[in-house]
């Protein structure tokens, strides 16, 4: 019992330190988002007007490489760098929430020209007004949290 308590007490600092690697992963992802230009409102317009292949190519090859990686990780039963099992949680198989939530998010995606990753990236490039977009996105999630018990899923 005592040892468990010591563990929890030591948690906050070590929790952040142990997870700094995810900051590095974000740094990598943010760098690529900018170089792919997928954080541009104009690129999103090109996609939804079917006028360039760029976004389709980016998303398509990203899915392909991710799928191939998942296959390899499973095929060779690869463990995490600290020897934990790798497992993906399946998404709950109810469909109303995915189509209705998906449409609402899609509406916002084309208005702002940014999905959540690119919002973070745009803030990083110095487009400080996207802090307002982030704040209203947080407000939107907050609103969902309140209405959730009343919404069909």
């Amino acid at each position: 019992m005592a040892s468990i308590q010591v563990k929890t007490a030591a948690r906050p600092a070590s929790l952040v330190l142990g997870q700094i690697k995810f900051l590095a992963a974000g740094l990598y992802f943010g760098f690529v988002l900018v170089k792919a230009e997928v954080l541009s409102w104009y690129r999103i317009q090109e996609m939804f007007r079917f006028q360039t292949f760029h976004m389709y190519g980016v998303i398509g090859t990203a899915v392909l490489v991710a799928a191939l990686s998942l296959w390899l990780l499973r095929r060779f039963k690869v463990k995490t760098f600290d020897s934990q099992d790798i497992s993906l949680k399946p998404k709950a198989p109810t469909y109303f929430r995915y189509i209705s939530g998906g449409i609402l998010f899609g509406l916002g995606w084309a208005l702002t020209g940014a999905c959540p990753g690119p919002i973070a990236a745009l803030i990083g490039t110095g487009s400080s007004v996207f802090l307002v977009v982030l704040a209203s996105a947080v407000a939107g999630t907050w609103l969902y949290g309140i209405l959730r018990p009343k919404l069909p899923h």
Partner: protein
């Protein structure tokens, strides 16, 4: 390759067949680093939880569940700073001719930046700006929470993991995007 050509390659935008696979590699990277599912929109939920929202949806230990994801989010900001400010593309953004034309009929000009001029603090205090940024933001937050994921979690990780729900969500993203582009944007920009 000398140093100048490396610098040049880091400054210019990357084609889809380089950038796409590199984005896809984020999925195994996060799994290898700590068995984490690639996703960004969960951060909106963690932020609500951290801000003390009392709804049941936010009643969990955000430090335990979300610390890694919030650090990932912060990392995205930093990586974008390095790529977009320190190694900025000196040419500016070029937009397809056809898109430039379509947008000009709505009175939107291509400015070499990532987004039109309305996406600025001055633009925020106009009806258009409010609808685009506040309205758009609310829809993003509400929609991703409702759908349980965004482009990262559903359209990349979910599709790569052959999840039917993610295909349905991605279809929804696309329907919404098409409606915004072809009906809402022309309406908003005529205001």
């Amino acid at each position: 390759m000398n140093a100048m050509s490396v610098l040049h390659y880091l400054q210019e935008p990357w084609p889809w067949y380089i950038a796409g696979p590199l984005i896809g590699l984020t999925v195994p990277l996060l799994l290898l680093l700590g068995n984490k599912d690639f996703g960004v929109s969960s951060n909106l939920r963690h932020m609500c939880s951290a801000l003390g929202s009392k709804a049941r949806f936010f009643s969990y230990d955000w430090r335990k569940e979300g610390a890694w994801n919030l650090l990932f989010f912060l990392g995205i900001c930093l990586g974008a700073f390095v790529a977009g400010v320190l190694l900025a593309n000196p040419e500016g953004l070029s937009v397809a001719q056809s898109t430039t034309q379509s947008l000009s009929t709505l009175g939107i000009t291509t400015n070499g930046h990532l987004a039109p001029d309305i996406f600025s603090w001055a633009g925020l205090f106009s009806l258009k700006g409010l609808l685009l940024m506040i309205g758009g933001g609310l829809l993003i937050g509400f929609g991703t929470a409702y759908a349980g994921g965004c482009t990262s979690g559903h359209s990349i990780l979910g599709l790569a993991n052959f999840q039917l729900p993610s295909l349905v969500a991605t279809l929804g993203f696309f329907i919404g995007g098409l409606v915004s582009t072809h009906f809402l944007l022309p309406f908003i920009f005529k205001l």
